[in-house]
Amino acid sequence: MRLFLALTSVTLRGILRDRMLRAILGTVLLLILLVPVFSMFSMRQVQELAITITLSAISFFLLVMSLLLGSSSVWRDIERRYTSSILTLPVSRRAYILGKFSGIAIFIVCCGLFLFLVSVPVIMFAASSYPSDVPVHWLNIALAIGADILKYLLVAALALLFSTISTSFFLPFFATIAVYLAGSASQEVFEYVSGQFGTELQPASVAVIKGVYYILPNFSAFNLKVPAIYGLSHSPGGLALTTLYGVIYVVILLVLAIKIFSRRQLP
């Protein structure tokens, strides 16, 4: 456990000492602080727009972070030969991958929580300038950010998996973006082919599309922005299933990453 914590701490230190990541965080913070100004462009839905922009900014930041950190995690350590200094200690490759992921995960979770805390006074300020009929549902906003955090942990795990088989930044980065885009649209495509349009397609094509739908992570399941903006209620069962789905998917991706990395020949 001490070793796992040490590996997590080393990954976290690497992230926190990266100037580029700090600059991105600074930019997003600035964007969130400017939310009251942007919200003024909507004459009647200032509060709703403030929540939308804030959640979108947080979501975009977490996406960029999970993509960058996951994609550059393992292959960069191999390329810089950090692996030869860490994996020649009594450290298993499993511990290394888990330590790496947990460092990234802690950073993503902390950033999500920090940005939520920053967004609270910003949304309150924006909402007070033009009060809405719908009260601000803070729990829904927190749930939306929580679901986003889980979604981007999944993205990070996916990028880390690609990173274990890659020798450069490009494969993990672009493959993760491709899966992210496909996974974000898969629910709509599934519903489309499951309806009237599906009867016009070859059964084999429908089966392939449905097969891909089940394999790809369904990122749209984590989108809880609309209930957060308009104060709609959630089904606790649905939330629990989404959480379970995310956690199981992350575990599967990490197991695959460990399997692949354990077989990898290192410089």
């Binding site: 070793l3 040490a6 994996l87 009594p90 020949q265």
Partner: protein, 306 residues
Amino acid sequence: MKSESIHSIEISSLSKTYKGRKGKAVEALSELSLTIQNGEICGFLGPNGAGKSTTIKILMGLITATSGTATLCGLPVTDPGARKRVGYLPENPSLFDYLTAREYLALCGRAFAMDGESILRESQRVLELLDLREAADRPVRGYSKGMVQRLGLARTLLHDPDVFILDEPMSGLDPVGRALVKDILKDLKSRGKTVFFSTHITADVEVVCDRVAVIVGGRLRSVDVVDELLESGIEGYDIQVKNCAPALYAGLTSSPKASDITEIYVPRDRFNEFLAHLGKNGGDIHLIEPKRKDLEAFFLDILGKG
């Protein structure tokens, strides 16, 4: 606790084949078998690309062998626990450059299951030993190549392991650093530690090693006791004599050294005969110095370039 019956390093029929360009198989190691006894210092000598680093990477679990087995302290090298009693220095170590030396050593200490107090104490000891105390709280990215090499060595010494595996330990060091490393190796030898180090500098092997294994083209070509090798390489003796009649060394190469001292080169096969003549006819021996092939000459012989 060191078990005397278990060899520190045991390599048996180790082979490694890479896929080269166009899928062509490249044999980096072929049927390598080598045993390193407890408490010995063994040099692993070979030209560039001979397979030294490949062997060491297999021992440290970075790459897997195509066939054959290897153990460290009795445990298979595929088991991370095998590295608990091993201090490893990679060739041109690349350490987390955003960490300070102290942070890096703390990470290593935790990996070796050292307690917090021991990590602090031992980190301080090795940082002082390797003259890194002043730089200990600076990020590694600001270190020179020699400082990184010394930090790599500090890591190997941190947990006082029984076995040291060093890949080109003198690489990137200035003469002071090289002398320091040699002193450390001698100290390890005096403390009964096992050291297996690769190098292509024969002089390093001569100074510190008990045995030398020579690898060429992925095949182990010889394993010799360094002292025996050097002894067998004696070709003759430079003998400085006083008050010796010139007739006694007629036919031998000689040169005057001082007014009454002459240096004579006596081939090995005529050494006893010459001493017998000298004893019978008078003359004092001032100095006898064996002239021998150095390890480099042996190495070049093995390579077929001598």
